[in-house]
């Protein structure tokens, strides 16, 4: 499967700056999409397309921080880079605390801007990959039966087949059968591997 091209979204009410920064990023080899306001940006459906957002902090109506908040509320995890004409410390702190990827002035050196964009795109693709893996993993766990999950709980706690059989009031051979079925469904070969997989999938209580 071919991964879609990541798109750098730029949101700024200053048309002149918007055009200039878009032009520079395009010339640097990025796919770029421009928006004149936060409202216009949030109204678009293609928020799932990978990439990042470059947003002006000070805009009329919805400003950069509002946009960040709205994105988070919707559950979109696009990395946000803030641009500002003139940054002050309290706003920077607030933006960073909310998980801003970066905070740059509009006249930041080109290298800084490109680095920030690259970093954001990398992080986005990494996060997307991780999220995809997790999804797949969860799908695999979802294939387990109720009883198999119960058995798995005990297995990852390091208990022996005999103990599991006693606790669950079933035959030891049945436990063995369940374990084979679990390892087949999850595609692992050892108990250690199984434990690691469970931790990746989000803790032991699967």
């Amino acid at each position: 499967m071919n991964a879609p091209v990541p798109v750098v979204r730029i949101v700024d009410d200053d048309a002149s700056f918007l055009a200039a920064v878009a032009r520079m990023l395009r010339a640097s080899g990025f796919a770029v999409k421009t928006f004149a306001s936060a409202v216009e940006f949030l109204g678009r459906p293609e928020l799932d397309v990978p990439g990042c957002v470059l947003v002006d902090l000070q805009m009329p109506d919805l400003n950069g921080l509002d946009l960040q908040e709205a994105l988070a509320k919707e559950g979109h995890r696009l990395p946000v880079i803030f641009l500002t004409g003139h940054g002050d410390i309290p706003t920077t702190v607030l933006a960073m605390r909310r998980g801003a990827e970066d905070f740059l002035t509009k006249r930041a050196p080109k290298a800084d801007l490109l680095d920030a964009v690259k970093r954001a795109l990398d992080r986005d693709s990494l996060e997307r990959a991780g999220r995809a893996r997790l999804e797949a993993l969860r799908a695999r766990f979802a294939a387990l039966t109720e009883r198999e999950r119960e058995v798995l709980q005990h297995v990852v706690r390091g208990r022996l087949n005999k103990q599991i059989a006693f606790d669950l009031g079933i035959h030891e051979r049945t436990v063995k059968l369940h374990r084979t079925s679990i390892t087949t469904k999850l595609g692992v070969h050892s108990a250690a591997e199984l434990t690691k997989l469970c931790m990746e999938a989000g803790g032991l209580d699967v």
Partner: protein, 608 residues
């Protein structure tokens, strides 16, 4: 004793004397036509007296007829001049009636010479001698001439004319002496006509003597005219006295008094006036010489003020600089008024000048200080805007930088897209211009400068200031609404100072909203014309101002902000009042406060 001789010659000489005196008076003052008319009336009366006297002494009917015949000439003069006198002096009487009387009388005079012996008799048949005043006098009888009615009608109409005049004068509420004069005329002329008729028809056996009654008229007229002359003398005395008093008062108050006769271009001035303009006392001065002493920068508008005053405006008041021959400069305040001649043309201008150098120096010093204060306050206001300005500058500078970088990247291409490069360069130029404008605006605002009054559109000013504060406003999540009325009249003022006031009010309004949730942070700037004033109101939706502070916000050093200087509003009010405007504050019913400015419309009205 021959009383007739004595009385008639005395009357004649009295009349002639009066006639001579008033003729002389008229020669002195040609505009007093009443004097000439009176003089003619008196002379006419004298002639009538003489004719009467001759008639009484006539020995034959032929002689008597001739006397009566020639007596009509002085009587014609008398009647015409009386009609003229009444019209001119009393300014009453119907014009058509006056012309009819004169016409009939002239016709009667012509007919008089067409008939023999005269218009009164077709033939005189009897001449008798009667005893009258101890002397023998001639009395006649004969066949009356029916054309006599023309003359009689003119007399009757004259009586009607006089009665009408008397009533008009009464209605007009004229002074008593005038009424008495016209009533006296009515009485004596009625009496003289009656005596003539009685004597003519032989009912009264005494001789004809209507002239004596006319003496009464002449005396009454002379009395009225002499009263006027006496009053004129009195007035001129009073005038001289009041003139002396005024000169004294003007000298004591430091005023120089002047009078410019336009026709001769001569400027008369009091001694102090000569000193104020640096002329030797007693030197003859013309308008141009005075004009040369006015500071070249002031000359043109002082002269235009004088021109306007000599035109339809009527008066002027100006303050200007005078350069004395030794080069020293002096400020004067001058006032003048135009006085027209009888035709209503401007003939003279009079006025006063006072030295205001001391006051002007103090005023200029105060102005300089308040300009300096305003400047300091502007600089400190700019401090508040520093981050806002940095933002506004970084916007175009950032765009320039990004465009330049993009250009560099394009050039790395072996065959760069030239169209794209061209549009990059055009954008760079545009953004550079934008940054330049921000800097110019800021420099204008920060410059230490003299106030300069110009015609201004407050709507444009509001727009400029809104642009200046917008980044600051947006950062603080405040919504700024402009509701400008295009019908707002222009005002006359200093652009930077008025911008400063608006900026101050806007920043204050934004500050007042810090406690509000973002949804309720609204600043509205509204402009509208109110009569001959332009109004700008800046409203916020904050907490408003508590009653105890409402009156104190304009006091210097009064502040509610932790790091405020407390000068902003004091200076703002100072600036607005220097523009003859008003600045005040009220709390809004729906919460928050509104600061309102009114400024008078610029002269020349609503043409933008």
């Amino acid at each position: 004793m021959s009383w007739i001789t004595i009385i008639w010659s005395m009357v004649a000489s009295a009349c002639l004397t009066l006639a001579a005196i008033h003729l002389l008076a008229w020669c002195q003052k040609r505009s007093k036509w009443a004097y000439l008319l009176f003089s003619l009336a008196a002379a006419g009366t004298a002639g009538l007296v003489f004719a009467e006297f001759c008639a009484m002494r006539a020995e034959t009917t032929g002689e008597f007829g001739m006397c009566l015949r020639w007596g009509h000439v002085p009587f014609w003069v008398l009647l015409i001049s009386l009609v003229g006198f009444v019209r001119l002096y009393m300014r009453a009487g119907r014009l058509w009636l006056a012309w009819t009387i004169c016409g009939l009388r002239t016709l009667s005079l012509i007919l008089n010479f067409a008939f023999m012996p005269n218009i009164n008799y077709r033939e005189i048949t009897v001449l008798r001698h009667v005893q009258f005043l101890g002397e023998s006098a001639s009395v006649v009888a004969g066949i009356p001439n029916p054309w006599m009615l023309v003359g009689q009608t003119s007399l009757l109409l004259f009586l009607v004319f006089l009665v009408d005049v008397t009533l008009t004068l009464r209605r007009r509420g004229e002074r008593r002496s005038m009424l008495i004069l016209s009533s006296t005329m009515v009485f004596f002329i009625a009496a003289s006509t009656a005596q003539f008729m009685l004597s003519f028809w032989g009912i009264d056996a005494s001789p004809l003597r209507p002239s004596l009654f006319f003496l009464g008229v002449v005396v009454a007229m002379a009395y009225e005219l002499s009263r006027e002359a006496v009053k004129a003398v009195q007035l001129s005395d009073e005038l001289r006295e009041s003139e002396e008093r005024m000169t004294l008062a003007a000298e004591a108050a430091g005023f120089g008094v002047w009078m410019w006769t336009i026709a001769t271009n001569r400027v008369w001035g009091s001694e102090r006036w000569h000193r104020l303009f640096g002329f030797e006392p007693g030197v003859e001065v013309g308008y141009e010489m005075v004009s040369q002493r006015i500071h070249p920068d002031d000359r043109e508008w002082v002269e235009s003020a004088v021109r306007r005053a000599s035109g339809d405006r009527g008066d002027f008041a100006v303050e200007y600089r005078v350069i004395l021959p030794d080069g020293t400069q002096r400020w004067v305040s001058a006032q003048g008024r135009r006085y027209p001649d009888a035709q209503g043309r401007p003939a003279r201008m009079m006025g006063a000048v006072i030295d205001i150098t001391g006051r002007k120096k103090a005023e200029l010093e105060i102005e300089r200080q308040s300009n300096e204060l305003a400047h300091v306050s502007r600089v400190s206001t700019m401090g508040q805007l520093a981050s806002s300005l940095a933002h506004e500058l970084n916007q175009p500078l950032g765009a320039i930088l990004r465009n330049a970088e993009a250009g560099e990247l394009f050039l790395q291409d072996p065959s760069p897209d030239l169209d794209e490069l061209r549009s990059i360069l055009a954008d760079i130029r545009k953004d550079d211009q934008r940054a330049g404008e921000v800097i110019d605006r800021m420099r204008d605002f920060m410059k230490q400068r003299k106030a300069e009054r110009r015609r201004l559109d407050l709507n444009l000013l509001v727009g400029d200031v809104a642009t200046l504060v917008r980044p600051n406003v947006e950062k603080r999540r405040v919504r700024l609404a402009l509701e400008t009325d295009p019908a707002l009249p222009p005002v006359h003022g200093d652009r930077v100072q008025l911008q400063q006031v608006l900026l101050n009010l806007l920043l204050n309004a934004v500050d007042a909203l810090d406690e509000n949730p973002p949804a309720r942070r609204l600043v509205t700037v509204r402009t509208r014309p109110v009569g001959a004033m332009a109004e700008v109101a800046v409203s916020d939706t904050g907490q408003g101002i508590s009653a105890d502070k409402l009156l104190r916000v304009f006091e210097p050093f009064f502040t509610s902000k932790p790091n405020g200087l407390g000068m902003g509003l004091a200076i703002s009010r100072n600036i607005i009042e220097a523009h003859r405007g008003r600045l005040w504050v009220e709390n809004n019913e729906a919460g928050g406060a509104t600061f309102t400015i009114t400024l008078p419309m610029a002269e020349g009205g609503d043409a933008k």
